[in-house]
């Protein structure tokens, strides 16, 4: 892995499932030069729309011993993308210079065959434009030099209020994302599919607070008793920890 491979690292321990990344992604990508992410009947009874990013919620365990997992899912920009070689026109491609998997909307014939070859279900067909669409890792803003340097990140990363998403080059071992993957046991989803997804997830981590008895009871309380202590007479001396004033 020597070529540059941009990717997202999503910390499942932090994600609270607020969908800010979803709405921010939709807002940015529906407003861009590539045309809208079409919606059909968006405020009606049967809405249908194209999104690059979805947040799903899963539950592990049985009540009352359950754990809720919010799971953001977008294109994983696989290093072995199964969707790319099957495209008959070459509209679906993986960019050499940064490893982003993209669709050339001007070459796509709308046969949907690439979506059949994605195990993650992250390609969504735009029925109005008649082409397949997918996450671009905000290719139109991460290199935009008119933006301040710290804003040259995908819209979802900037939107996450909890900081669950980070973005960078996973082929560079010193990058922030590579370190996050190494230090926090970052993993790929469906590794058995052989797709080598570039996006990684960080696992949920159990944080337990252990409180010992002596932390609840003051060890240096000579009367072994909390609460009001005897009030000394004015003529008597008063002692810390023995009398109350």
């Amino acid at each position: 892995m020597s070529r540059k491979q941009l990717a997202l690292v999503i910390d499942l321990n932090i994600c609270v499932g607020c969908h800010a990344c979803v709405t921010s992604c939709k807002e940015w990508n529906t407003s861009g030069w590539a045309g809208p992410l079409s919606d059909t009947d968006p405020y009606g009874a049967d809405p249908l729309g194209v999104f690059f990013n979805r947040v799903q919620t899963f539950e592990a365990g049985e009540f009352p011993h359950t754990e809720t997992i919010h799971f953001p899912k977008s294109c994983l920009h696989c290093e072995e993308p199964p969707c790319v070689p099957v495209c008959p026109t070459g509209a679906s491609f993986k960019r050499e210079e940064d490893g982003i998997v993209l669709v050339d909307y001007d070459k796509c014939i709308g046969c949907k065959y690439c979506s059949w070859n994605c195990p993650y279900g992250v390609r969504e067909f735009d029925t109005k434009q008649g082409v397949m669409k997918k996450c671009t890792l905000c290719a139109d803003r991460i290199y935009d030099e008119t933006l301040p340097e710290d804003r040259r990140k995908p819209a979802c990363v900037l939107a996450c209020p909890a900081g669950a998403r980070s973005f960078g080059d996973i082929s560079n071992p010193t990058s922030e994302v590579s370190q996050a993957i190494r230090d926090n046991a970052g993993f790929q989803i469906m590794p058995e599919m052989g797709t080598q997804p570039a996006n990684h997830y960080l696992p949920r981590r159990k944080t337990k607070l252990v409180i010992h008895d002596d932390e609840l009871m003051r060890a240096d309380n000579p009367l072994l008793k909390e609460g009001e202590l005897p009030r000394p007479q004015l003529s008597e001396p008063f002692l810390d920890d023995v009398t109350s004033w």
Partner: protein, 326 residues
């Protein structure tokens, strides 16, 4: 997966057309390796090729209904090195061109001898083009089947049996059409073609039966553990992230009741295989033309049901993420 009618018609029609072309070439070869004294008229082969061209052409037209940008269709020959879909797009017109050539050569009876072998048998132009045509048709069967068989995320499809089934069903329906044309034209090949049509139908029946049994015993198509990377034995989806529909909930699911699947399976087995086998055998043994002619529409209806079920029963791995709306 959601069955697309364009693909249902495309695969069944071109399968029939390819089967018909292979039947014609096989018939011609049958005479060449025989005594060499008798053979069918060029008219028979020309008319057969014309029917095959119509079938392939209808399939090609149906395929355009699957594309949202048919005007860019020509681009789809670009990635033939990696994409089976691209290879099919290349081979279909090649097959049609060769079929037209084969028909014209027979119609105008242009049969110069190309090679004479040691046993005094000749390879003439029509037979040489025929071999090329049969090879192209056979390879087209492989490409069509591989379009589905190469998708490793649908376990029902990812098997060599997908290619075998597509080929056998194409041969069965194609030989049946060839037998009808031969019977109407009073060609000598009538019994040869009807017999093989019956045989191919029985073979496709057996292969389909085995595939149905195989698909019943497949392991679970996906695992929740690896889908979200949480190693827990009991995971369920609470929300798929939206309340409406999406491409993922439409393209990859067939929302029909189990009863309909049950009835479609019965329709497929009876109309697609059992009834045409019996009718073709009757048409072959008794030389009873109405039986041969009746077999074809019945079989075609059954093959449409087969193709519909092929899609409806394909379970894609991505469905793991779309199990529950809210």
């Amino acid at each position: 997966m959601k069955p697309a009618f364009s693909v249902l018609f495309l695969t069944t029609l071109i399968g029939m057309g390819q089967g018909l072309l292979i039947a014609l070439v096989a018939g011609q070869f049958y005479f060449v390796i025989g005594s060499g004294l008798e053979h069918d008229s060029g008219d028979f082969y020309a008319k057969g090729s014309a029917v095959a061209l119509v079938l392939l052409g209808l399939g090609l037209v149906a395929s355009f209904f699957h594309l949202s940008h048919p005007e860019r269709g020509m681009r789809s020959i670009m990635r033939w090195r990696t994409s089976w879909l691209s290879r099919e797009v290349l081979l279909l017109p090649a097959c049609m061109g060769l079929a037209a050539l084969y028909g014209l050569i027979h119609w105008f009876d242009i049969t110069p001898v190309l090679i004479t072998f040691g046993n005094q048998k000749n390879l003439d132009l029509s037979m040489a083009v025929g071999f090329l045509l049969a090879g192209t048709s056979a390879f087209l069967f492989i490409t069509t089947g591989m379009i589905y068989a190469c998708i490793r995320f649908i376990k029902e499809w990812a098997t060599p049996w997908t290619v075998v089934n597509y080929t056998l069903m194409g041969l069965s329906s194609g030989f049946a059409v060839a037998a009808i044309i031969a019977a109407i034209e009073n060609a000598l090949l009538r019994d040869f073609l009807a017999g093989w049509a019956a045989l191919f139908t029985l073979m496709s029946f057996a292969a389909k039966g085995f595939t149905l049994w195989r698909n019943k015993h497949l392991p679970a198509p996906f695992s929740m553990k690896s889908a979200i990377g949480v190693h827990h034995g009991h995971i369920r989806q609470l929300s798929q992230g939206f309340m409406g529909r999406s491409f993922n909930t439409m393209e990859f699911f067939t929302h029909v009741s189990p009863e309909i699947l049950h009835w479609m399976t019965a329709l497929m087995l009876v109309f697609g295989f059992a009834a045409p086998s019996a009718l073709l055998l009757a048409g072959w043994a008794d030389r009873y033309l109405p039986a041969l002619i009746a077999a074809l529409p019945i079989q075609y209806l059954g093959l449409l049901a087969e193709r519909w079920l092929f899609f409806a029963q394909g379970r894609h791995v991505q469905n793991v993420y779309y199990q529950r709306m809210s």
